[in-house]
């Protein structure tokens, strides 16, 4: 199998990368009709598989689960998930031949064996659905010509997909049709009905392409989302301890700090996150982030270039083939970092204090979000995609760190994201070594000790203008507007 993206002519590559349109809610007026009465068989009963299935069934659709015989025989967790929730469970042989739609919700790494096993069993003219296009785009999986291939990708963890549905809402969702596999031209109708079934249409649906989804998703997850937060956690923690700040306090400030400051990001973008700081602190954070952007830009470019060229997926797949040697080693190393090993101290930190004492963290989030967004859009990915894959998802990942630090983050994200996160981290920590030498506790740990909170008018106006005029803010305010009622991530 060859990298599908690389087989396309440049013209087509650019066209596919630029595919992204925010759909109007009127386009979902038909509801789940296109899927009504059809048999939907989900493969994989992890967080996405189970929760999407629950939503689809609660929307009146017919959902069952196909698992591997050993998962059924040994009553593995996936079997338990499906049966305890009252779903019909069967083997591939039992269920796939009856399916009108097969929902492949297994981890990326299993896509090739799963799809290879499933495809011959699928009935003619059925539909195969993905939640992530890696298998098609990077691995170049060829799907039988009579089958319709679509993608429906909720832009949140599975638990969130369910929680938002239950409260009467949904999560922003990306849909796509694989144009090489749309023999009857019904791909879009099926993808839209699927998005309605999971509640996604209430929170906003982006019509994208397999290619744009993969190239932007990979970029976001390995840079700002996971990589930057992991690198920032380790650097900020070690710096604080080195400067004599209580390790328990430092651990708490970071573990819960990302969540708190990115909550402000979720509500009002980078501007609002910076607005939470005092004027002198805001200017400080701005200056630090500008410095960080200059240092880190080549790294962001390299990640994007490797993703576009296919180099990243190639090296990762080599590691898959090598029994995940790199991944497992890096995972073990992460567990040994001082931040990971130091429990959050039993100290009270007020919401505002996370901002005041975490100026550098704010600067890192700003730099990471803007760099990822800028790099993606420069590579031809459209602003809406870039927004969702950078700013939008940052609070979601920050939330996993708040739960159980980096371990939880890396356990929750996909193997692909985890692999990319370690790559980023290994390059970024040494890259920021000099920068960190000049960092003191005024920007991480203690906050500015100011006798005079005055600032220069001209400088403040410059900073505010720069913040507000960044392109990620323009697209962000439009997309956030679609989420009529922003709610806290619980």
């Amino acid at each position: 199998m060859a990298n599908y993206f690389n087989t396309l002519p440049l013209r087509e590559q650019l066209a596919q990368l630029a595919k992204c349109r925010f759909m109007d809610s009127s386009e979902f007026a038909d509801g789940v009709e296109a899927l009504k009465g059809k048999k939907m068989v989900v493969i994989g009963c992890g967080a996405q598989g189970l929760n999407q299935g629950l939503n689809l069934r609660d929307s009146g659709l017919d959902v069952s689960y196909a698992l591997r015989p050993e998962a059924i025989a040994q009553k593995r967790q996936s079997w338990k998930n499906a049966t305890e929730n009252g779903f019909v469970v069967g083997t591939y042989e039992d269920l796939i031949p009856t399916a009108d739609v097969v929902l492949n919700l297994t981890p990326d790494k299993q896509h090739t064996p799963v799809v290879t096993a499933v495809m011959p069993l699928m009935k003619k003219d059925a539909c195969l659905s993905y939640s992530h296009g890696f298998n098609i785009v990077e691995e170049g999986m060829k799907i039988r010509e009579d089958l319709t291939v679509i993608m429906v990708a909720p832009k949140c963890p599975g638990s969130e997909v369910r929680a938002e549905y239950v409260r009467g809402f949904g999560v922003p969702t990306l849909i796509a049709v694989h144009e090489d596999n749309d023999p009857k031209g019904e791909g879009l109708a099926l993808a839209k009905a699927y998005a309605v079934g999971t509640g996604g249409h209430k929170a906003g649906v982006l019509m994208s392409s397999f290619i744009a989804e993969v190239k932007s998703d990979l970029m976001g997850e390995q840079t700002i989302l996971c990589g930057m937060l992991q690198t920032g956690s380790i650097l900020c923690f070690d710096k604080m301890v080195e400067e004599g700040i209580d390790a328990g306090y430092a651990s708490r400030l970071i573990q819960f700090g990302w969540e708190t400051i990115t909550e402000a990001l979720k509500y009002g973008g980078v501007t609002n996150m910076l607005d939470r700081l005092s004027n002198p602190a805001k200017i400080k954070a701005f200056d630090l982030s500008e410095e960080l952007k200059v240092i880190m830009r080549p790294l962001y470019n390299k990640h994007q270039d490797d993703i576009i060229s296919g180099h990243f997926s190639q090296t990762m797949m080599e590691d898959w083939a090598n029994d995940d040697k790199n991944l497992l080693q890096w995972r073990a190393d992460t567990a040994e970092t001082n931040f990971e090993k130091t429990p959050a101290g039993d100290v009270e930190i007020s919401e505002q204090e996370f901002f005041d004492n975490g100026i550098l963290m704010v600067a890192m989030v700003k730099a990471g979000v803007e760099l990822a967004f800028e790099t993606m859009t420069a590579a031809g990915i459209i602003a809406e995609s870039a927004y969702y894959e950078s700013l939008h998802e940052t609070p979601l990942i920050a939330n996993t760190i708040a739960r159980k630090k980096l371990y939880e983050m890396n356990a929750t994200i996909s193997d692909t994201a985890e692999y990319g996160c370690y790559l980023y981290n290994h390059a970024c920590v040494p890259l920021l070594a000099d920068f960190m030498k000049d960092i003191k506790t005024d920007v991480i740990g203690k906050g500015l000790s100011l006798e005079d909170t005055g600032v220069d008018n001209k400088r403040l106006i410059e900073v505010n203008t720069a913040l507000r005029s960044h392109p990620v803010e323009a697209v962000g305010s439009v997309l956030r507007g679609h989420m009529a009622d922003m709610k806290k991530i619980v």
């Binding site: 929307s59 305890e84 929730n85 009252g86 409260r167 009467g168 009529a484 709610k487």
Partner: protein, 479 residues
């Protein structure tokens, strides 16, 4: 001036019978010297009875009262009526065929008067000088009330009990009386029965709330929150409440009246080998209020979630709800539209930063938070609910800044706003203090009086009952 030299007045599990007409039950109450109390509650709750007990009225069947002073002054409508009746009786009893004028006012005031000087000054202040020679029974109601007040005040009581003393007084007299009361605060402990909080004199230090012949709550006025909640409770209890109408535009689909609302057939919930609910049959007919009880872990919430569609195993059971046999292509939103639902866990889950008004409106959409624009009708109805809850001025306040009890009240309004055929209240008082419990129960009783909503009340105390609920289902814990 004498300062207050009294012991604590202690009522210890006192039960008092009033001619078999009314009973005060198991009253525990301590009145310390230097405290001035207001007794409040709804009509018929027992406020006046409680006040009268301190003046020696009623037959004590049980318990003890200690520390009660001998000289207790009582001004009340009952005492006033009694005095007037006595005067009229004198008339009837006249056998001399002479028209009796009855006792003149000056006699009523100055016979056995402890402080004639004070009485004189009060007569003047209250404008009764010209009426001193008139027969007491010829006075107007307001005038007899003034006479009663002067008698009580000038008798230098060790405890002064005033039952609705401000009713029927003109503005000037009211001001005068209040000023006088304020001037004796140091010497005379006072118990004032009041229906309306806004008439409460500043010198009051404590409030006792009476309901159904019991002292349900006592509040120190310094505790501002508790005091405000009591105000709200009285509002709910004393205002003539009309539950706001449902949305006239977006009506719920009509249900077939011949079918039950809910029918569970051999409902079973199990996780692995653990059976939580075992072969439960249950039919809820329209208009049949139910109480579901059982210990923790008996599966109450599980059973409810089979009905609401929140339990995934509702698809593996034989469940008929609101015209739908579950698992035939219906969506949960088609089910939820017929249900209003309140529980502690809903309150925990309702963590969105939205306004109180939006929380109520979200009941039209069965959502947590608002994701669509509300209509003018919906806003209007939400305002009516806010007014009903005594929160008219809080519609725009963020929900998550409200007290726990106020949040619960709003969630009940949210559940009721669409007038659902079935209202499920899953332990609606859990985690609430006495005051908020009273508030919530008051609201539920109002709802039970309505006809279109069937109430399903869940409580793990089977004995904790609500008026109007007559069907009981008890669950046992499966071991």
């Amino acid at each position: 001036m004498d300062s207050i030299r009294l012991d604590n007045i202690l009522l210890n599990k006192v039960t008092v019978n009033f001619d078999d007409r009314f009973t005060l039950s198991e009253i525990d109450w301590t009145i310390e010297p230097n405290q001035h109390w207001v007794i409040t509650g709804t009509n018929g709750a027992g406020k006046s009875a409680l006040a009268a007990v301190l003046a020696g009225v009623g037959e004590i069947e049980n318990g003890t009262i200690t520390g009660l002073p001998k000289n207790v002054g009582l001004v009340s409508f009952e005492a006033q009526a009694e005095l007037i009746a006595k005067e009229l009786k004198k008339d009837d009893a006249d056998i001399m065929d002479v028209i009796s004028l009855g006792t003149p006012v000056h006699e009523m005031i100055f016979d056995n008067c402890q402080d004639p000087e004070l009485a004189h000054s009060l007569v003047e202040k209250f404008g009764l000088s010209k009426l001193l020679d008139r027969a007491f029974r010829k006075l107007s109601t307001g005038e007899t009330r003034k006479v009663m007040l002067i008698r009580a005040l000038s008798n230098k009581p060790d405890l002064l009990i005033l039952d609705e003393p401000f009713d029927g007084l003109d503005v000037d007299t009211l001001a005068m009386l209040q000023a006088h009361l304020a001037s004796i605060v140091e010497t005379t402990p006072m118990i004032v029965v009041l229906n309306r909080f806004d008439e409460m004199p500043d010198f009051i230090t404590h409030v006792a709330y009476v309901d159904k012949g019991r002292v349900e709550l006592t509040v120190d006025k310094k505790e501002e929150n508790a005091f405000n909640e009591l105000y709200q409770l009285l509002h709910l209890k004393t205002t003539d409440l009309d539950i706001p109408e449902a949305d006239p535009v977006n009506k719920l689909p009509a249900l077939d009246p011949s079918q039950p609302l809910v029918k569970l057939n051999q409902a079973t919930i199990k996780y692995g080998d653990t059976v939580i609910v075992d072969k439960l049959d249950w039919i809820i007919e329209r208009g049949q209020h139910w109480q579901l009880s059982g210990p923790n872990g008996s599966g109450k919430t599980c059973v409810l979630s089979l009905i609401t569609g929140d339990h995934p195993q509702c698809y593996t059971n034989d469940i008929f709800v609101f015209g739908f046999q579950r698992g035939n292509g219906e969506s949960i939103w088609q089910i939820k539209q017929f249900i209003g639902y309140v529980s502690t866990s809903l309150q925990w889950e309702y963590r969105v930063s939205t306004s109180c008004k939006n929380v109520i409106i979200s009941g039209f959409y069965d959502s947590i938070g608002m994701y669509t624009k509300s209509t003018d009708n919906q806003k209007k109805i939400a305002d009516q609910w806010l007014a009903l809850l005594g929160m008219a001025d809080r519609g725009d306040q963020p929900f998550n800044k409200l007290s726990y009890g106020d949040q619960r009240l709003l969630l009940i309004a949210r559940a009721m706003v669409k007038h659902p055929p079935l209202l499920i209240l899953d332990e609606p008082c859990l985690g609430l203090d006495d005051m908020n419990r009273q508030l919530v129960l008051a609201l539920i009783e109002k709802i039970c009086q309505g006809k279109e909503t069937t109430v399903l009340y869940v409580n793990h105390h089977a004995e904790d009952k609500i008026k109007g609920i007559e069907n009981y289902l008890g669950l046992k814990k499966n071991s």
